[in-house]
């Protein structure tokens, strides 16, 4: 590039705010119309869709749970039969884990991480759009199958050999296995985007020790995804091959069913931390502004997050204590299960210290954080109990386990998530959520959750097995189950209150300023909701909480062109600006590629030849995606 060229391009330098805003809006706005809707590459638009879709799946899976609780409310009930009950708990667990819990965390990150690191878009925004469409297709496939009576019914972990053709004819298990493929491809893509956004697109000056803790949590989570998800993809591919072309990975004709469990839980345990780590990041993000002070023990928390991410790979066998493993192996996994209590404990003490040393403001987001601490500690304690082999063997496959993992997942995932929605809702929509309705929501959720799941510990200790569609009256479990069902109803009601709050606030909530909570991180430096270009001028970061340090106007970097989508790449450690990168303009090709991939995945449920005829359309759409169209973003 010559000096002449350099001068020729229109840049943000010396442009006044109004003119700059006008030009950037024209440049970054998502296109209109149906094609435009399908083509957008704005991380905020895709992130919003991701979040809404994930909550739709939460509602659907929640309705599964409501039906199950009605069935179990009294002994010898015949509301649903055993087959439908099996489908209900399978679709409930599968939807909650694969279509809600992990995707919703990634969805929030897709929306927030680029804003928090001060860049204009996520890395690889077209891949981001592609991943969203694949996720929708995978979820729709599972739920359409359920509605037409072809649902999987072997539990969310589809243990072999029960899931093999011999014992599971029909297409239910194949649909389950391909749903895995859809959602895992999607999650892997998002993880690569987040890693690249965090490593390379941070605002100038944001060195590693100035990254917001939520962003650290998402970075660690994304790395876990890279190493954990291939295990489940390998397992589900093996299963579908067993069923489709008679291989023998997990069947009883030479395969090994325990290998299924190893692969599943090598993924499945880290999976829990894929929910928990982002949630802890949310908690740290919420606690600091509501305690009116910086988080206590930043370094300790970051190291604990990384520690948890690594340690979570050494725990999978504790799901398999009942399979008769060698004693030494079991002892090792007991020890590692206890060790992770230390890193989790450090974080909890740091949060308590932050609240202790601050002047807490008890608004709804903080209430959910406090609820999280209480519920998660209970779930953590029952976790330490079942980390010990003798106790685990006793309560294995009982309601004690159901109680434990709902405490961990609802306490450790859903409560922080709800707090996060209250906290970031003003940023996303430009309006505040109602505080009084929020308090009703919190207390209903807190009471309902505990009433629904605490008695399950007792049911488990009394010997009630999980996954039974009914139980005889003389077992004496009737009253407790009725209490559980009442708790579940209150918990479900709390979600109605929540959705009511979202709806009312979205339409007529109080207008939110750029930084309604007085927080310190960069997403609050832009207006609520942010404009399509995120930041009018690129922030330049000098501390961990730029908005608390810089009392006046934030320092900025300038020199970006205003006639094409540009953002700044920075060095991995120090965050020094090193390159200008163009951000791809909207394109319909990721959507078309997702359709071609969907045809391929669904086709391969029915015939192995789909691999042959399904590949060329994918190749064509990918070439269409990557082939330059002559836009300004594609030249130097």
């Amino acid at each position: 590039m010559t000096a002449m060229d350099h001068a020729d391009y229109p840049r943000d330098t010396n442009l006044d705010d109004t003119e700059l805003s006008r030009r950037l809006t024209r440049l970054w706005a998502s296109p209109k119309g149906l094609i435009g809707f399908l083509s957008t590459t704005d991380h905020k638009v895709v992130g919003r869709r991701y979040i809404v879709t994930a909550f739709v799946f939460l509602v659907l899976a929640g309705l599964n749970a409501v039906v199950m609780r009605l069935q179990l409310a009294q002994p010898d009930n015949d509301l649903v039969g055993p087959k439908l009950y099996n489908e209900l708990f399978t679709v409930h667990g599968t939807t909650m884990m694969f279509l809600f819990a992990v995707p919703v965390m990634e969805a929030v990150a897709v929306y927030l991480v680029p804003l928090m690191v001060g860049t204009r878009n996520i890395a690889f925004p077209r891949l981001n759009a592609f991943s969203y469409w694949l996720y929708v297709a995978g979820g729709a496939m599972l739920w359409i199958a359920f509605l037409v009576g072809a649902a999987p019914d072997k539990g969310w972990f589809s243990y072999a050999p029960l899931s093999e053709t011999q014992y599971s004819p029909g297409k239910g298990v194949d649909i389950w296995a391909q749903m895995i493929t859809f959602t895992e491809v999607s999650a892997l893509a998002v993880s690569v985007e987040i890693i690249c956004t965090v490593f390379k697109q941070r605002a100038p000056g944001m060195s590693l020790d100035r990254i917001p803790i939520f962003v650290w949590a998402m970075l660690a989570t994304s790395f876990m995804v890279l190493f954990a998800l291939p295990a489940i993809m390998l397992a589900s591919t093996g299963l579908i091959l067993d069923r489709l072309v008679n291989t023998h990975f997990f069947d009883t004709l030479g395969g090994d069913a325990l290998l299924w469990q190893h692969l599943f839980w090598f993924f499945g345990h880290p999976e829990v931390y894929l929910v928990f780590l982002p949630a802890t990041g949310m908690v740290s993000a919420i606690i600091a502004p509501f305690a009116r002070r910086p988080i206590f023990g930043y370094l300790a928390i970051v190291l604990s997050i990384i520690g948890n991410a690594i340690l979570s790979f050494g725990l999978w066998v504790h799901h398999m204590f009942a399979t008769g493993l060698p004693e030494l192996g079991a002892s090792f996994f007991t020890a590692s299960s206890m060790v992770i209590g230390i890193t989790s404990g450090i974080q909890i003490f740091c949060w308590i210290a932050t609240l202790w040393g601050g002047r807490p403001v008890f608004k709804t987001p903080l209430l959910f954080v406090l609820g999280f601490i209480v519920i998660f500690v209970i779930g953590g304690l029952s976790g330490l109990m079942i980390a010990s082999v003798p106790l685990d063997t006793q309560v294995h496959d009982t309601y004690f386990i159901v109680a434990h993992f709902h405490y961990v997942l609802i306490g450790g995932g859903v409560f922080p998530l709800l707090g996060a929605i209250y906290y970031w809702f003003p940023k996303i929509t430009g309006r505040m959520m109602s505080e009084p309705i929020g308090r009703w929501h919190f207390w209903l959720a807190f009471i309902g959750m505990n009433l629904a799941f605490f008695p399950m510990h007792l049911l488990g200790l009394w010997g009630m097995p999980r996954r039974v569609y009914t139980y005889p009256a003389d077992m004496g479990w009737g009253t407790t189950n009725l209490i559980v069902t009442i708790g579940a109803a209150i918990f479900a009601l709390s979600f109605l209150v929540f959705f009511w709050n979202v709806l009312v606030s979205f339409r007529s909530g109080r207008l939110a300023s750029a930084n309604p909570w007085g927080a310190g991180t960069l997403e609050w430096a832009t207006s609520s909701p942010p404009p399509p270009y995120n930041f009018l001028r690129q922030p330049f970061v000098t501390s961990r909480e730029p908005l608390w340090t810089e009392r006046g106007v934030l320092p900025v970097a300038e020199g970006l062109r205003v006639d094409r989508r540009e953002l700044i790449l920075s060095s991995v450690v120090d965050g020094d600006p090193i390159q200008i990168e163009t951000s791809p303009e909207p394109s319909i090709w990721p959507f078309l590629a997702a359709i071609a991939t969907t045809v391929f995945f669904i086709g391969s449920i029915f015939t192995p030849w789909a691999v042959v005829w399904g590949t060329p359309p994918i190749a064509v759409t990918l070439i269409g995606w990557f082939w330059p169209k002559g836009s300004k973003e594609e030249v130097d």
Binding site: D17, Q201, P230, T247, L259, V553, V556, G559, D636
Partner: protein, 210 residues
């Protein structure tokens, strides 16, 4: 204080980035990190598949259970071809980094050929496995392992062919396309390097343990 919409205050400019390059190579570029991310995913895929192979192997009394180990010839020829392809691959990387259009194009054409040859040999490799995928667990896992690597091989060769075509159009004159060529060549390194443990496991491991 808002960086979202016009606020009327004069900006406090800390740094001007207009002189920064608009593309770069290797670990300075965004795409390189994206490629590395996918390499990490695929490395864990290979690692877990090999671990599953070893899991089956440590269970059985004899390994392979009922079939002779795969014939050495096609797999070894393919290994030699892949290793040789690293020479044009490294040269192409260097030429791309020097942004030498004609040499880079030459390198890409050679790489297309160097990529198609192993795919042809791969067909014979499947035939030389001496076991069908539906014979037993051993057959299943060796077909899966070889299939997994074949997917990588074919994907990268198709990618190389498309990129080569692109480099012969007017779009090929952009500096960022040279960076793409560099990243594509880095991925080929992975395709070759990931083959070596697979080759050892498929061909030499059964001979060493029997």
């Amino acid at each position: 204080m808002s960086l979202g919409e016009p606020c009327g205050t004069a900006p406090r400019v800390a740094v001007d980035v207009s002189d920064l390059p608009t593309y770069s190579f290797a670990n300075r570029s965004l795409m390189w990190w994206g490629t590395l991310g996918f390499i990490a995913i695929e490395t864990s895929g290979f690692g877990l598949t090999i671990a599953s192979y070893l899991y089956f192997a440590q269970k059985g009394q004899s390994w392979p259970p009922d079939s002779p180990p795969p014939d050495l010839l096609p797999g070894t020829v393919l290994t030699v071809l892949l290793l040789l392809s690293l020479i044009p691959n490294q040269l192409t990387k260097r030429w791309a980094q020097a942004e030498d259009a004609s040499k880079t194009r030459l390198g890409l054409v050679i790489l297309c050929i160097a990529g198609v040859l192993p795919i042809i040999v791969r067909v014979f490799e499947f035939r030389a496995l001496n076991v069908r995928w539906d014979t037993d667990a051993y057959g299943s896992i060796v077909w899966l392992l070889l299939g997994l690597h074949t997917t990588h091989l074919v994907t990268d060769v198709v990618d190389t062919i498309v990129l080569t075509a692109l480099m012969f159009t007017r779009h090929g004159y952009q500096g960022r396309r040279f960076s793409d060529v560099y990243d594509n060549a880095s991925y080929w390194d992975f395709v070759v390097v990931s083959w070596l443990p697979v080759y050892f496991i498929l061909y030499w491991f059964p001979r060493l343990v029997s």
